[in-house]
Amino acid sequence: MAETSNTANAHLPPIGKWAPALALAWVVPGGGHFLLKRSGRGAVLFASVAAMFLLGLMMRGAMFQPQTGDILTTVIYVGGFLSNLAAGLFYFVTIWLGYNQPDIAGHVHDYGTKFLVGAGLLNVLAMVDAFDIAVGNKD
């Protein structure tokens, strides 16, 4: 197991090659692709994550706060919080501007909450893609 891990690390390029792209991809959705000169894909990713996040806000979705308790509560609330956080700048600006929607009943609010989580998860996919490009696994 340790040998496998060492082999994987040996093939990983220096951190300076992929960390800036990965960090920028998190903070600005699609930003990693722009840094790696894949502007077209970066623009589509930015537009997609932005659309998902803004639709979530317009549906008055709730942001998750990390809570622990039983396993299901922990998975839902900590997972939801991390997914919200993965939206990067969109999340920070929204919180900074004072968005604080309580979790209330109704299918529109419920969809909004899922859209906000979905935006973060789409950005995780974009970050993985930027990482793959930076380390040379993809064109």
């Binding site: 990713l45 997609s48 994550v49 549906m59 299918h107 969809y111 859209f115 979905g118 996919l125 974009a126």
Partner: protein
């Protein structure tokens, strides 16, 4: 920020559309493959939406 009121169907279609675009973009290597896979994902999303909707409708009695 304006408030949106969407039906279940409208919200599901929008979610499927945006998710399919990103899935197509990050998983395939050529533009042709991306468009094809994105459309395929969207089709599967719609199939699941209609299938589960009918299942719930019929299951509800």
């Amino acid at each position: 920020m304006p408030k949106m009121n969407l039906s279940h169907f409208e919200a599901a279609v929008l979610f499927a559309l945006v998710t399919s675009i990103v899935l197509g973009l990050v998983t395939k290597r050529t533009d042709r493959e991306r468009v094809r896979y994105g459309l395929q994902c969207f089709g599967y999303f719609m199939l699941a939406t209609f299938g589960l909707s009918w299942l719930m409708y019929l299951g509800h009695g």
